[in-house]
């Protein structure tokens, strides 16, 4: 079903609405998609933010984001991914090998980063899904790269049509774009609730919502967002005012533990720039005559991620100015900081995450230039490291508060 309006009885088979429902989905992500699967729907797993979900929705496929589980020890993935690569992707592969994603009817993965590209192929080889597609997302916004990206989406369309036996029509795709854009607008509205001081919704609750959205068909996610927004606006027992208002930047965070730790020691996480948070939702798709044009542009050019290279316009002497380059790459964070009244930034990256690692000194330079204190945390996607991180965050909060 591709529509922005759904009947309340159609959605989740749990009684509560809003935040409590969100929490339930967070704790049992697969419940709803397994119900849908039992009804005959096909569920397609996807990794990262580069697979074009509108194309799945338009064909009545249910997109389901593949996440890791930092609370589950990695015991199987060592056979196919070494220890010196992203621990999140090792966890993802581990869960796959343990059969935790056996309910998926297929997967779509993209070149979100080098290791995710390899994970796409390893997944296909070791788990042999009945449908798998890899999108070789380019790395720049060159005109040639944008044309290539559109060609890649045409290839994706062909394999989807072959898999479903249906034609992916322009009309269906346009409808899907609208409903996904609706979700993006609702997420913006949700994040607006974090602007007041104190914020109306905590960082932990926000992350639970985002995980829930990644576990539901888009229409159901939109309905859930409406319920959450309505509930949060009305409730009287929201987060307390705290001295630190943090922006968290970096690698994926799909477990509340890290945010919970920060919020338990005197901070409100009021904004993020991560792939399960604002980075995934803040850029809408332009409605173009050929919808693939808008999709190709959004998923390559509009998504703000360090994995896509953007060169700065050169000076008159044809040299590159460092601070201009930083403004070009990170200027949106200044806007976030101003709008969400941020007074400190946590840069966090998973160990072995090159995409984010290379950004750290430059981003710290940029934040310092706009008067925002920051700290860099590196972690290995496990609960065990939290105690040490807690001490460092505590010290940082003392400085900024």
């Amino acid at each position: 079903m591709v529509t922005g309006k759904i009947n309340h009885t159609e959605i989740l088979s749990v009684a509560e609405a809003g935040l409590s429902k969100t929490k339930q989905i967070y704790q049992d992500r697969t419940r709803r998609v397994k119900e849908l699967k039992a009804e005959g729907k096909k569920v397609i797993g996807y990794l990262d933010i580069y697979p074009v979900l509108e194309m799945l929705t338009a064909l009545d496929l249910v997109p389901y984001r593949i996440l890791g589980d930092m609370r589950e020890p990695i015991t199987k993935a060592d056979t196919c991914l070494p220890t010196v690569v992203c621990p999140f992707l090792r966890s993802v592969m581990d869960l796959g090998l343990k059969g935790k994603y056996n309910f998926l009817d297929g997967v779509v993965m993209a070149h979100g980063c080098e290791v995710s590209e390899k994970t796409a192929h390893i997944w296909r080889t070791y788990l042999n899904p009945s449908y798998a597609h890899f999108i070789d997302t380019p790395h720049t916004t060159h005109a040639a790269a944008q044309r290539q990206h559109k060609e890649l989406l045409k290839d994706f369309k062909r394999t989807l049509e072959s898999f479903t036996g249906k034609e992916l029509s322009i009309e269906k795709l346009k409808e899907a774009i609208k409903i996904h854009n609706e979700q993006r607008a609702l997420v913006r509205e949700l994040y607006d609730l974090k602007k007041p001081d104190p914020p109306l919704i905590s960082g932990v609750e926000t992350l639970q919502v985002m995980v829930a959205l990644a576990s539901l068909p888009v229409a159901e996610g939109n309905e859930l967002l409406r319920q959450v927004i309505s509930e949060v606006k009305q409730r009287k027992d929201g987060p307390a005012k705290k001295p630190a208002r943090l922006l968290v930047w970096g690698s994926i965070i799909d477990d509340i533990a890290l945010i919970d730790m920060m919020e338990s020691i005197g901070a409100d996480v009021v904004m993020d720039d991560t792939v399960l948070g604002s980075r995934a939702y803040f850029s809408p798709v332009a409605l173009t005559a050929d919808p693939l044009d808008g999709l190709a542009h959004r998923y390559l050019v509009e998504l703000k991620s360090p994995r896509t290279f953007r060169e700065t316009v050169l000076s008159e002497t044809k040299r590159k100015d460092y601070m201009t380059d930083l403004e070009n790459r990170f200027g949106y964070l200044k806007d976030y900081a101003r709008e969400w009244k941020v007074n400190g930034v946590i840069l966090q990256a998973l160990r072995y995450c090159d995409i984010h690692g290379y950004e750290v000194p430059g981003l710290k330079d940029y934040l310092a230039s706009i008067g925002l204190p920051s700290i860099y945390l590196e972690h290995d996607y496990s609960e065990a490291a939290l105690a040490q991180l807690r001490t460092r965050v505590q010290a940082f909060l003392e400085v900024i508060s």
Binding site: D78, T79, C80, L81, P82, V84, V85, H111, C113, E114, V115, E117, K118, A120, H121, I122, R124, T125, Y126, A132, F134, D136, P138, H139, H142, A143, A144, A145, R147, Q148, E151, D155, R158, T159, P306, R307, F309, E311, L314, K318, R319, K320, D321, Y322, D325, A349, R351, Y352, D354, I355, G357, Y358, E359, V360, P361, G362, K364, D365, Y376, E378
Partner: protein, 445 residues
């Protein structure tokens, strides 16, 4: 051999030395060019298209990836690594990149090439030519150099065609088109930056010479299938940069590879091996510990001959381009052949992950290896991701065992040669065991 002179464990090819000198000399040539006010580019390996354009535009090209190996071999890398670490770049990142970032930081502080820089150092660049192929580091590193250099960066895009999707109808065509369009955009960028037009006839000539250079270099490596193998991996590693980095005019390089072919052919005809008594034939994956290459001499003394290395540093398999007239299309096809030519076997067996690991099966079978040394690099995802699959497939399909020696290409502290040698001694028994197993299984070696 003079009386009392110790016999070398590895017979080094005499024709290797001028090839190595060609690469070593590119740094001094770039320094000279810089002094004369000519443009200099720091480049990532880009599989010939970008190199050819730069050469046609008379830009002196040098390669910080190679310079990482140089600094490791000369012992200056620790200074640069420490500088990178203190500037806040995570220490788990690529050793080549950290070496270069540290070098650039030091050059910025001093206002000149650091005095300790080996081979004359790398002069300040006019531009940085990056690449989107293989790993994230190869464009993020050059972007991060903006902290120390005001040179613009151009990322030359390349597809990753070694996957199932690349076999779909029309995909090869749009990938080649993408490569050509990327080169055209790069040429436009370069013409604007340098304020001059490119000589397209010269470009066509360089591209033709590059195709021929790679063909000859491929033929040299084919000779290594002989028993005993005439060329050890140490000679390969010394010779490969001349092709991989386009260190000089490819016409000159092709002539040197022809001389190498003649020498290796003579050794094959006379049954002379790179190692005196070739007991074990080995493959090596991926990049070696540049700081500790003497380790291979110790293994050679035990009869270990390294006869083949990872496909990623080899030239593309020869391809007929006689029907492709446009020079950019010719070089795009050459690049694409490098990206896909080694994977045909993987495609045919539906081994999609094997697109990266599968060439080892082919190499180990064709070069009749008794074992493979896997060198997981603690700072390199690209060189490490697939090694477990390589190990698994070689044992499952060919009964060839793997020796895993962890280390790093640049960081000496991450490699323990004594421990590696102990493991190697034990591995000989394993190789001998599997020689019998393969014989019983009816395999050819």
């Amino acid at each position: 051999m003079a009386d009392g002179e110790k016999k070398r464990a590895i017979n080094r090819l005499k024709t290797m030395y001028p090839l190595r000198a060609l690469v070593d000399g590119m740094y001094e040539r770039a320094v000279e060019a810089s002094k004369e006010g000519k443009p200099v580019a720091w480049c990532m390996v880009n599989w010939w298209g970008g190199d050819a354009v730069l050469r046609a535009m008379e830009v002196a090209a040098i390669y910080p990836e190679d310079y990482g190996a140089v600094c490791a071999a000369f012992g200056t890398a620790p200074t640069y690594l420490a500088q990178s670490d203190s500037d806040g770049f995570p220490s788990h990142m690529c050793g080549y990149a950290r070496n270069c970032l540290g070098y650039a930081a030091r050059m910025k502080d001093l206002g000149e090439i650091p005095p300790e820089a080996p081979m004359g150092g790398m002069p300040k660049p006019t531009l940085l030519l990056s690449s989107g192929y293989f790993c994230d580091t190869r464009y993020k590193w050059f972007q991060a150099l903006g902290r120390y250099l005001d040179a613009p960066v151009w990322v030359l895009e390349m597809p990753h065609p070694g996957v199932k999707e690349s076999r779909m109808e029309g995909v090869r065509e749009h990938n080649i088109k993408f490569l050509v369009e990327e080169l055209r955009e790069f040429i436009a960028f370069l013409e604007n930056l340098l304020g001059k037009k490119m000589d397209r006839d010269r470009l066509a000539e360089i591209i033709d010479d590059t195709i021929e250079m790679n063909r000859v270099w491929h033929e040299v490596n084919e000779l290594r299938k002989a028993r005993p193998c005439p060329m050890h991996s140490r000679d390969f590693w010394s010779s490969m940069p001349a092709s991989l980095y386009m260190a000089a005019d490819p016409k000159v390089t092709a002539d040197l590879y022809r001389q190498m072919y003649d020498e290796a052919k003579s050794m094959v005809d006379n049954h002379i091996g790179a190692v005196e008594e070739e007991k074990y034939r080995l493959a090596f994956a991926e990049l070696p510990p540049w700081h500790s290459l003497g380790f291979f001499n110790q293994l050679a003394e035990r009869g270990w001959n390294f006869v083949i290395e990872s496909w990623a540093y080899h030239p593309p398999k020869p391809i007929d381009l006689s029907k492709v007239s446009d020079p950019l299309e010719r070089v795009a096809n050459l690049t694409y052949q490098y990206f896909s030519g080694y994977f045909e076997d993987a495609f045919n067996t539906g081994d999609w992950w094997g697109y990266f690991a599968h060439p080892y099966l082919e190499f180990v079978r064709e070069y009749q290896c008794d074992g493979i040394m896997l060198h997981p690099l603690l700072t390199c995802r690209t060189a490490t991701n697939h090694l477990m699959v390589v190990q698994d497939q070689l044992m499952t399909k060919l009964k060839v065992p793997s020796l895993i020696i962890e280390g790093d290409i640049v960081d000496l502290n991450l490699f323990d040669p004594a421990d590696a040698l102990r493991k190697a001694e034990t591995f000989e028994e394993t190789m001998s065991h599997y020689q019998k197993v393969r014989k019983e299984a009816g395999l050819a070696w």
